[in-house]
Symmetry: C2
Subunit: 717 residues, 2 copies
Amino acid sequence: MEPDRDDAAEQGTVVTPSAEFPPLGAEERAALGRLGARWHGPRRADDLPVDPTLGRRDHRPRPTRFGRLTPIDLFTVAEPDELVATGPAHLPDDRRGRALTRLRRSLVGPPLASSSVLYERMRKLVALPVLSSDLLSSVAYGPEAMLAVLVLAGGAALGLALPLAALLAVLMVAVGLSYRQTIPAYPHGAGSYIVAGDNLGRTPGLAAAAGLMLDYVLTVSVSVAAGVHAVTSALPGLTRWTVPIGVLVIAVLLAGNLRGVRTAGNIFVLPTYAFVVVLLVVLAVGYAKAAARGFAPVPPPAVPAAEGLGLLLVLRAFSSGAVSMTGIEAVSNAVPAFRPTEWRNARTTLGWMVAMLVTLFAGLVGLIHLDGLVPRADETVLSQLGRVTFPTGPWYAILQATTALILLLAANTAFNDFPRLLFFMARDGHAPRRFLHMGDRLAFSNGLVALALTALVVFVAFGGHTQSLIPLYAVGVFLAFTLSQAGMVVHWRRRRGRGWRRRLAVNAVGATLSGLVLLTAAVAKFTEGAWVVVVAVPLLVLLFRRIHGHYATVHRALALHPPPPHAPPGPAGSAEGEELPQQVRHLVVVPVARLNRASLRAMAYAASLGRPTLAVHIAPEEAEADRFREQWRAWGDHLRLETIVSPYRAVIGPLAHYLEALHTARPELTLTVIVPEVVLRRRRHRLLHSRAEQRLRAALRPLPGVVVTSVPVHVSH
Amino acid sequence: MEPDRDDAAEQGTVVTPSAEFPPLGAEERAALGRLGARWHGPRRADDLPVDPTLGRRDHRPRPTRFGRLTPIDLFTVAEPDELVATGPAHLPDDRRGRALTRLRRSLVGPPLASSSVLYERMRKLVALPVLSSDLLSSVAYGPEAMLAVLVLAGGAALGLALPLAALLAVLMVAVGLSYRQTIPAYPHGAGSYIVAGDNLGRTPGLAAAAGLMLDYVLTVSVSVAAGVHAVTSALPGLTRWTVPIGVLVIAVLLAGNLRGVRTAGNIFVLPTYAFVVVLLVVLAVGYAKAAARGFAPVPPPAVPAAEGLGLLLVLRAFSSGAVSMTGIEAVSNAVPAFRPTEWRNARTTLGWMVAMLVTLFAGLVGLIHLDGLVPRADETVLSQLGRVTFPTGPWYAILQATTALILLLAANTAFNDFPRLLFFMARDGHAPRRFLHMGDRLAFSNGLVALALTALVVFVAFGGHTQSLIPLYAVGVFLAFTLSQAGMVVHWRRRRGRGWRRRLAVNAVGATLSGLVLLTAAVAKFTEGAWVVVVAVPLLVLLFRRIHGHYATVHRALALHPPPPHAPPGPAGSAEGEELPQQVRHLVVVPVARLNRASLRAMAYAASLGRPTLAVHIAPEEAEADRFREQWRAWGDHLRLETIVSPYRAVIGPLAHYLEALHTARPELTLTVIVPEVVLRRRRHRLLHSRAEQRLRAALRPLPGVVVTSVPVHVSH
């Protein structure tokens, strides 16, 4: 079977710093050329008054007035007309900024160059632990989540765990098979966001993305909570520090990921395999012991029933157990990270993972039943099982340690996936564009911080209690599963490749089962917290759509259009229209409050532009206006002066209105307002000045066709 | 005797909106002319592309893209080259701003034109109540303040009130005579700040100002507290609302003064005269009753002594009684407000005032003693006296009402004097310049708000309790008295006019006595609250000096200097030096992130200036740089392009450093950085954009010789 090629999916998983600079579309490209052809500016000046490559400099760097060393040495010449900024060019200018940067660098490390983006390929034996930590770690809390619901109906109801586990195993295999088919169809990686968006349309794609985002947030919260619980089960003295420990863990994860800890490699291999091995040992020893007593189940302790054993309770237990499947989508997202043939290796790995998941999950549920264990608040079921299986020896400690470790890795997985998802959404304009930006460690710092903060809030709000978080978890996950599988159904119907009916059927089964779990979770756990997700997903989708709408509007407004065939350069145009130098008609306006070095510099600058220039003075009284005109004549009356008496003493308002009046009188003029700006070094001194320059700029910002130029005068005090 | 003329004093009390635009000094004026003579710009262009007087417009106003009506009609043409902004030109542009302005105007009234500044002259009979409300109202709490201290040593100690009152009467006459001499010496008004600053130097002047500022704040707090107490003495049910009533009163005073309630006129006349008449009736009836029983004092109720009767207690009582003198300086501040001959009328008025003060104060203390009244927390002594004197009839109610009213007027006086003091200080650069600004109601809004807020804090902090505020009051007042009188001593020694020795002696006595009271108050009441003032005055003086230092530095930096005889226009100069068009050497730099309408407009604008132009692109990767250059060539390569690869993906830092490197290579160049700025209408949409324009502007602000030009593109969404 040949994998399909899909253009949209092809750019699917390429993460590059250049995404902030999207290339032009074909239409814009054509418009660009036609605009260029009509450009009648002055000839391209290659004789600039300074060598822009800084190559022929004859000065040594020397401190400037503002006490900084000139960073000429900060650039190296690459090709002609190209410089490369070296490290120090990224340091801020002022002392406080540099100190902060140094502190930050000592925490997260020196900057990494764009060329260090890793496009690493993984062997299957490495890919398996890297991609399965999220999935396999779920068995640390999944079986317990199911039992914790059943036990509400009393100890006797615990027997239902076995058939439910069998059902879940079927579900796992079905969803696994379903994803198995996605892999060759999307060999460039297939997040639910991309698959659902491709095949079902924008809104389902965004709904899948919203579900995934909540999933990632809860993966962090739940994994950290379960990991801390594994530790406190072994060391009960730490129980009252649950929340601080969890907060610390999230902070360390954030810091590590800001440093840019790579997902790949050795960190994952050992703990994941160790966890699997230890669990297999637990199962082997446990079942051996059970066999020794003829598989007679130990009767569980008598637990009083808090609720009746109804259908709703069983459904709740089922959907709680289903959280064991979170992370099953990881392989299909990461196909390009495998060695060739990528899709084939990925598919094999997924097979192994599902097999391991089913084995561990079913084995654990069976053994827990045989040993008659009951969920308790102070100790995890896995820990109880460890103590029963290994009454002595180091195995119990190893079990708890590897459990905590793999849960930490699972949380870390979300730190990789969440910012990537935001990156893809931002690239499509569905999320704020700042999530496109790779920080100086090549990490998506904004996304990392967003994830850590949200997960922190959730973790603290729920007191670090795993079982309280579970109801929120299942809904988001299975929403993404359902939409992704449903997308594949549509995909097969459209493509109709060889054997498409069979493939469609497999994905349809997966989608239907996932959808049933989604419904079950949403309905059965609505009042327990699932309502938060049910409300949040549509709100998020709405938000994403509005963000997209805004970016689309801005893009349309800024897109290049070919010039009209006979562009009239005359007075009919508007100053906002011109993209050609010959269309610009200048009027330079200099507001002058008083005659001093700052305003004379502004006027000298204005006059040096050699365009029609008008000076404007705003006077509070007739007498002051006369006095100012008298000074103006003493200066030599070099510029046309217009005086506006503002009898109510406002300055900014009348000036802005005057400029708008000029604009209305001749809309095709570009008014360049040249404002002297006194630059003070100390922030507290700015309190002593009126900041008229800033207020004027704010007042002029909405005016069309008004260009504002600040001519600074520095006061070094 | 002819009054002396003093240049510094001459501009002393002129309050004008033009103070924000100080005229040039002689030296700067000369430099201005010489700079003008060397100006070699293009000839003055009188053929502007638009008529700046807007007189010949042929368009009707029409809504612009941003939904506002063009305000051409907002200007009327006065003389040639002069427009007058009419009312609506002061309205803000956006809907919310206009609504706020309308709300504000409905509270404080429509704007007043600068020409409405009142220079009213008062008859003596009007001036007397206007200027004496502060002074005379003090007798409502002064005697009680003295008795409240004495009674701490038991009822028997109250007998000391009579000799202390005699001492205070002597003090009043001495200080009154002292101020009487100040009036002809400073016929243009003599605040303590001006007199002390003129004669003793800057620091004593600032100390006097600090004392006065505290005095004004406490005048508001104490007068409001005493006024509310007068009301609650008559209506005890209101006692628990003391603080809210006081806060409301201060708020009303602020609102009234923001409206610009004039000090002059009829508001003051009736309450002040009524208060004096009612008090005289109280005295007459009271002494008549006492005479009927042969002036035999009613023995005061037995009060247990809380403290021993020591010297410190007597001194505290004395300095508490001295607060009756606050406001005695009012006449000497306001000499120009009198009808001619100003100083003569002012001096006569001061004589009357002091006579009335002594009469009322001494008469009240004597009568209180005869009636055996003792200060109580729930009722003022004046109220007790009223009840004793008028057991029935409306006189008691009239007494309390006029007392509350004159105290309100006294507080209002501070609302006039405090912003004026700040105005004079700001004119000398000792206070933030914003206190020079007259709001659209011609009131010094900033000063009014500052006073109201401070007085409010003090009032609330002391729970609206008059007697707790008294210890803070005396120190500031007598500091100003002492410095003012001491200044007069120096004045006479310098001037040595006719009879200067006698005049010097009178002022020396006044200064010495005031100084003694100051010391007494500061020492005896140090622990009771006077320490606040003792600490605050030096801190305020330091603050004023530092403000002055800052303004002086800025002024020096911006002052005009004549050009050097042979100004070299060559590469030796620096871009910050030029004040002549022929000295400006241009290099235009356009940072271009991507090619769209915004950046093409910026480049068209840049090219239309016809100066050497360089486009700069910052690329995160080599690949992106190549792609951009390819687009650039497709456009036509009309401008020289320099690409900077920023391997750590920062944009602002490398760009700023590159510009600084260009500047260092050729410091005489003026670099004009032309930045396209996408203007969004909604604030929340700005969250979705990187605001690179603002960050670039902030990074470039400290660079010398870099002019930043924003070319806006408006997105109407």
